[in-house]
Amino acid sequence: MLVYFIRRLGQSALVLVVMALLVFVGIYAIGNPVDVLISPEADLAEQQATVERLGLDKPLWEQLWLFLVNALGGDLGRSFVHGEPALQLILDRLPATMELALVALVFAVTVGVFLGLWAGLRPDSLLGRSIMTGSILGFSLPNFWLGLMLILVFAVYLQWLPAGGRGDTVDLLGIRTSLLTLDGWSHLLLPAITLALYKTSLVIRLARAGTREVALQDYVKFARAKGLSAARVTYVHVLKNIMIPVVTVIGLELGSMIAFAVVTETVFAWPGIGKLLIDSIVNLDRPVVVAYLMMTVFIFILINLAVDLLYSLLDPRVRLSEAKA
């Protein structure tokens, strides 16, 4: 098992480095951030001075080398725009994104499992069929369009909820969270639903498929025969068994949620790392883009490892050493 983890980590580290290099060179090719950042009033001499100040006059290989050397020491460079360490900028904004992703995840799992269970237990009922057809709609609605429509309905026409931004935050153990204020929740609701819809449909389908399979298993029949109440059979025996695929998939999907937050955060002006990424791409703020990607990949790696662990705990038949085969 240890060997397995070390191997995985080694691969991941390699990926991290290769990707950082590719993106570094790629953004270098797009343009010169000074063109965007500098005041138009600056004359040619000042433009040149700025390029030198940001270290952009050095040849690409030298910039790359400096980046790698610094990166080994944990320094991913300073933002061209903000002049602060790129990693710090990202860490400052990470709580907002994590908060959004976690709420969306909880929403997706609870609603998804509940509806999926229902559809699985009564697959031919009208409601069961409607849930399944509805889940296709959930798959199909593009994230950004859903967000726009929610803003239009709930913020513009009904004026029930704010159209964007993050609400009041509270300092909780050094992390700013908006989960403890009413204002925070009112801002969080629409973006979280937007982000959650696709995953909810996914969970519905997984839960339904799982339920249908499990419901035919002997131990469920046996439990029924033993005279256990339908509720107990459903919520203890069936639920426990369909959670295995759900947990795996959701674990993996947390990573993609963080990535998809890019879209949701743009629509709702949510001050998370996704918004930062878009802004940084627009401004060619290379250190921040590279740091964002390295950070995201790092989070993915952690999540994948956690999922592997969780999976082996939930299902004793799985042994991690086999997974690599």
Binding site: Q11, V15, V23, G26, I27, A29, I30, T133, I136, L137, F139, S140, L141, P142, N143, F144, W145, L148, M149, L152, V156, Y198, L202, R205, L206, A209, P245, T248, V249, L252, E253, G255, S256, A259, F260, V262, V263, T266, L277, I278, I281, V289, L293, T296, V297, F300, N304
Partner: protein, 315 residues
């Protein structure tokens, strides 16, 4: 959102890949498939919608009243007219106009065209590249297999949206560039699926027989192995067309997709959203409806195909 390579995992869980095998032959498999498919009126409706849209998109230049990309045909004095306004050059702006005086109906039809082209071309290319890689990996096994599959794993560990976003930020705007980016984010998906089913097929006697007969490996790969891996591929490809269309729309919405002078549905929605608050809903709303209809239709068909081609769920 449905354009995520990580949904590889759930899809496999749902379709029962990679153990998928062709359904037992009773009559001609194709006619059986058609009959079963038609049993679901929702899926038939979806297919009908797709066909209509495809025909409209194909013959767009002869159907729509205006070429929305030809600036000399537009007149800003006709800008932001509501649906049903009279047009001087032709009958009526049925769906209104945008700020440039562009007929929204024409723009949507042309936008559909771009969306469908991007979706189908990128899926077709990714399918070819991906299945070749998958077949090669499965057939040769060993080091070839592990290297190729490692690359696939790595690729799949990144969300498609992120990869495509970065790629396009580097490439710049353009329909061709969007297609290339979408191919890059999709191929690994097919590679994994094909390798999965090919591994199962490879253990069967007819492949051994073909190899023993001394047939070339290319012939065995493409004439014998590939056809038997097709059913799951068809399912994935169908769903992926919808995903690719949605992804293109999202990228265009973020401003890194198609150029502004050739708006796809995503860009039309994005452009129009600025006008939504002021009550000029039609600029954004109708393209949005068109986009959702296309994606839902394709997904309905894909869903039905998945049910039919997945032996585990057959009753």
């Amino acid at each position: 959102m449905s354009d995520d390579p990580q949904s590889a995992a759930p899809l496999e869980a749902l379709t029962g890949l990679p153990e998928a095998a062709p359904p037992p032959v009773v009559r001609s498999p194709l006619s059986r498939l058609v009959r079963d498919f038609c049993a679901s009126w929702v899926a038939v409706l979806g297919l009908a919608v797709i066909l209509v849209i495809a025909v409209v998109a194909l013959f767009a230049p002869w159907i729509v009243p205006q070429d929305p990309y030809d600036l000399s045909q537009l007149d800003i004095m006709d800008g932001t007219l509501p649906p049903g306004s009279p047009a001087y050059a032709f009958g009526t702006y049925w769906l209104g106009t945008d700020i440039q005086g562009r007929d929204m109906l024409s723009a949507i039809v042309y936008g559909l065209r771009i969306s469908l082209v991007v979706g189908s071309v990128s899926v077709a290319c990714a399918l070819v590249i991906g299945s070749t890689v998958g077949l090669v990996a499965a057939f040769f096994g060993g080091a070839v297999d592990s290297v190729l599959m490692r690359i696939v794993d790595i690729q799949l560990s990144f969300p498609a949206i992120l990869v495509a976003l970065i790629l396009l930020a580097i490439f710049g705007n353009g329909v061709d560039k969007v297609i290339v980016a979408l191919i890059i984010v999709q191929w690994a998906y097919y590679a994994r699926a094909v390798r999965g089913s090919a591994l199962v097929e490879r253990r069967k006697e007819y492949i051994d027989a073909a190899v023993c007969l001394g047939l070339g490996s290319r012939r065995v790969l493409f004439r014998h192995l590939l056809p038997n891996c097709l059913p799951p591929l068809i399912v994935i490809a169908t769903v992926q067309v919808a995903n690719a269309i949605a992804l293109e729309a999202t990228l265009s919405f973020l401003g890194v997709g198609v150029p502004v002078t050739e708006p796809s549905l995503g860009l039309l929605i994005s452009n129009g959203f600025e006008y939504m608050m002021s009550g000029r809903y039609w600029i954004s709303f109708f393209p949005g409806v068109a986009l959702v209809v296309v994606i839902v239709a394709i997904n309905l068909v894909g869903d039905r195909l998945r049910d039919l081609l997945n032996p585990r769920l057959q009753r």
